[in-house]
Symmetry: C2
């Protein structure tokens, strides 16, 4: 399983609570990995049991207390061990493309609407990536420890641009059919 490792990777950036992690998965690294909060809380407990993270209760006045998790040296070692294992090709499961395969059997108006919605979502996502790039990586050469993040971001940008171009082309060809 790799959710545990994705969490460890997040914690190399900075210590976080379960809540922080859930938001981080929702925004920053949503392009690479997704996870819901029950999953994250469950996994944090397991990681604690393995000694890969430690938690510290942070007392807050007015708000409920937070349990902030940090990666341990053993956790960093676990990351390095994991990084030597081969990676699988990502699984893709895309309803929209499945529907396109059976174009005779689907509601074409609904399909067009779904493609327009998808196009809007990719444009929105591209905008966010551009924003992150401008804010975090505007100044020439990135630091070596940020190089991987920049390259991931570039893949995301290219991916969204590809989808946008494809959606536009498909909408044109579906017009009046």
């Amino acid at each position: 399983m790799a959710l545990s490792h994705a969490i460890l990777v997040c914690l190399t950036e900075r210590p976080m609570s379960g809540y922080d992690l859930a938001k981080f998965f929702d925004t920053s690294i949503a392009f690479f990995w997704k996870a819901t909060h029950p999953q994250i809380y469950r996994e944090l407990k397991k990681l604690g049991g393995q000694g890969y993270v430690t938690s510290a209760e942070e007392v807050q006045s007015g708000k409920p207390n937070r349990f902030v998790y940090s990666i341990t040296d053993a956790g960093k070692q676990a990351l390095k061990d994991w990084s030597r294992e081969p990676v699988a090709l990502p699984l893709i499961k895309d309803d929209l493309l499945v529907r396109l395969q059976a174009i005779e059997y689907v509601d074409k108006d609904a399909l067009r609407e779904q493609i327009r919605a998808r196009l809007a979502a990719h444009r929105e996502q591209l905008g966010q990536y551009h924003h992150i790039r401008d804010v975090r990586f505007s100044d020439g050469k990135p630091a070596p420890e940020d190089l991987g993040k920049l390259m991931g971001l570039e893949l995301g940008i290219q991916y969204e641009q590809g989808w946008i171009a494809w959606c536009e082309g498909v909408l044109q060809r579906l017009e009046g059919t």
Copy 2:
């Protein structure tokens, strides 16, 4: 859930056995959806119970008998109903990109090797898509019922080309780091 609908979509092409479907998922539509054979057999049973597919035992000499499934009219109606529901953005879970996020904490030699392997996989996949395109869609305008398949294929080609370009760039930038 959408595996059931992916199976129905496959069966609009032609009747198939569970074994055929497993291969079909592995080759033809692997870009859109993936499924293993226990999943498929389980799902076929459920679809039969709902009346969306019918099965016929095909006696073969020498080989074990096959159960060939066909989509019913009710199944076609279920596909149409499903096609009106909104689609979700596909989930992405890519170990390689997660590792790239924590580039300081991973084994760089292993990472380079993994990217080379990924590059090779994308080149291989691109070759297969080109082959399918040349065999199935070489002659000018596709039939209307094939248009969706062609557009899906074009997305796949673009997707693989994007990955290939990205992998090549990343390998160059990681050289000697």
